[in-house]
């Protein structure tokens, strides 16, 4: 494992000339090569990274000067293909870069590689990648979680000081939990998604995977804010997102009753309870709180998500970019065959489910009903945040599972997301931070805050990180 100083310290040393960006890039590329067996990485952007590093060393500036990072392969990035780990996008070279990457580069950060994911971010383990499965650095017989499993493994292995992920139903927090890293899911709309392969647009967000809360806050601070290329973006907080650890005294934290019951592994439960007690000892007031509709969240999610997926994936039609079936006789055959051969099993499963719930006669019963139960869930979050500052619970009901264990049963795989999807449905921010181990495998503590309270959440998470250390 490669250890790095804090991102702020690295950038400071590059700016002062004490460290060279070219050396940091080489260090990162060597770490990637040395950790090949974990299969976290789809492609390196070595040539472009080295060029950028030289340019930065000639004039070192920026809040992330010379700091290497790794992007999930659903970000449009120059210097390598953007595949979203799917066969249908193999060979796709980004004609422009995502806004998030542009903002990071503007502050001197350097993308060195693209990380593996479940194809199109559909999954909880990276086993749905059309290319290969990433191994968990803590135990290579286990999955790293997903869909940002390559990014989480990269952060855990120290392949770079930070990695980027996307989170539609838990895809940043779950792999952070499984790999013992920090995963931050911002308020919906806080980070522009322009230039990121769309999955389910009413749920998708972008966020960092790091080793510390402070690193996550700095990366978020650089990426956050309105973007004319993504009309769903919201204003950043005036004070930004660089925070000191909060004083937990007087903070009211609600332990989510529905997340602490049946189905939670005892070892995970014990760690979460212990973490809550430590926060209480640091002055936080703990209360149990119930959001009665939480058990419905996964059903809501598995209507809304595939519906939006089926719509977003309709653009992969074999005509505009990506794989095109060579022997079609007419346009319709070209669509049908290109999509048959280009999409993997899970993408097809979601397209089919989504098409069903949106189809004539079923739209009201499924999609509209799900969007209405979503309102109910949002109201319960609002009510809860009328009583407490933060919500607390596990990120996942279990520790990392074995590679292959859930692969044969899609519904069982979907259940992995049972404690993360509600956050996306409500658009609220959440973070997963390491919280001890169970069976020698990392446990993730999830903290949730109201919409736009990202700054407070990061400060509370930094405090939790201190008391858990």
């Amino acid at each position: 494992m490669t250890e790095w100083e804090s991102i702020a310290a690295l950038a400071e040393k590059v700016r002062s000339g004490e460290l060279k960006a070219v050396d940091l890039v080489e260090r990162s590329l060597q770490a990637i090569e040395a950790a090949e067996e974990y299969k976290a990485i789809i492609a390196v952007t070595a040539d472009r990274a080295r060029e950028r590093a030289q340019a930065i060393d000639a004039d070192p500036k920026g809040r992330l000067a010379g700091v290497p990072f790794i992007a999930k392969d659903n970000f449009l990035v120059f210097g390598a293909e953007t595949t979203a780990a799917s066969n249908i996008l193999k060979g796709f070279e980004a004609p422009y870069q995502s806004t998030a990457i542009e903002k990071l580069e503007a502050e001197g950060a350097i993308c060195v590689a693209k990380a593996n994911l479940d194809a199109f971010a559909h999954g909880s383990s990276t086993e749905n990648s059309d290319f290969f499965t990433t191994k968990n650095p803590v135990d290579p017989t286990r999955v790293p979680g997903g869909s940002s499993g390559g990014s989480a493994a990269a952060a855990a292995l120290g392949l770079a000081p930070f990695a980027l992920g996307t989170d539609t139903g838990g895809s940043i927090r779950l792999p952070a939990s499984f790999t013992g890293t920090v995963g931050y899911k911002p308020t919906y709309g806080l980070v522009s998604r322009s230039g990121v392969v769309a999955m389910a647009s009413s749920l998708d967000v972008i966020g960092p995977l790091t080793r510390t809360v402070a690193d996550a806050a700095l990366v978020l601070d650089v990426m956050a804010g309105k973007d004319e290329l993504d009309s769903t973006t919201i204003d950043r907080a005036e004070q930004g997102y660089l925070v000191e650890a909060a004083d937990l005294r007087g903070k009211k934290i609600g332990i989510i009753k529905e997340y602490m019951g049946e189905g939670l592994q005892p070892g995970v439960k014990a760690q979460i309870e212990q973490a809550a007690q430590k926060m209480q000892q640091a002055g936080a007031e703990l209360v149990e709180i119930s959001l009665p509709s939480l058990p419905l969240a996964l059903a809501v999610y598995y209507i809304i998500c595939p519906a939006e997926v089926s719509s977003n994936l309709s653009r992969y039609d074999g005509q505009r970019y990506g794989y095109s079936f060579p022997d079609a006789h007419n346009l319709d055959e070209s669509y049908m065959a290109s999509r048959e051969h280009g999409f993997g099993k899970e993408a097809k499963r979601r397209i089919m489910t989504g098409t069903y719930v949106l189809s004539s006669g079923y739209y009201d019963a499924y999609y509209k009903k799900a969007q209405t139960v979503r309102t109910k869930l949002i109201n319960e979050f609002s009510e809860a945040f009328g009583n407490v500052d933060f919500l607390l619970g596990p990120t996942a009901p279990e520790v990392a599972f074995k590679i292959g264990e859930n692969a044969a049963d899609p519904l069982k795989m979907y259940l992995t997301d049972i404690m993360t999807v509600a956050v996306n449905l409500a658009g609220v921010p959440a973070i997963s931070i390491p919280c001890g181990t169970s069976e020698n495998l990392p446990v993730g503590l999830q903290l949730i805050a109201p919409q736009r309270a990202d700054r407070d959440l990061l400060a509370a998470a930094a405090a939790a990180e201190e008391v858990l250390a």
Binding site: P95, S293, L294, P295, R339, K348, I351, S359, A365, T372
Partner: protein
Amino acid sequence: MLRFTTGMKQEGSAILGVMAKLTRDDVLHLAQLARISLSDDEIEEFSEELSAILQYVEQLSDVDVSELRPTNQVTGLTNVMREDVVKDYGYAPHDLLHNVPDVQDNQLKVKRMIG
């Protein structure tokens, strides 16, 4: 309590008379709507798997939401407008078209639509 079993409800007709199990024809119809060809094995698999997923989500049918409206935009944004002006992002047509499978005179070339 969270439901962790995958076998949710067995009776599957709560939502507008939806069938408990999708037939082969249902799957083929959906595949046609989604413009995606499926192998025989996939048709069989999806008829089982989609039925299981639909049975799982059927738990929503019992939820009373008569007082509520659907949420489409979660942060409350409405009608986000911008000035209707052309902005040059500096991309040449070639840059934007180089991923297209078949291009002629800067235009996408597709197979014939009929026949």
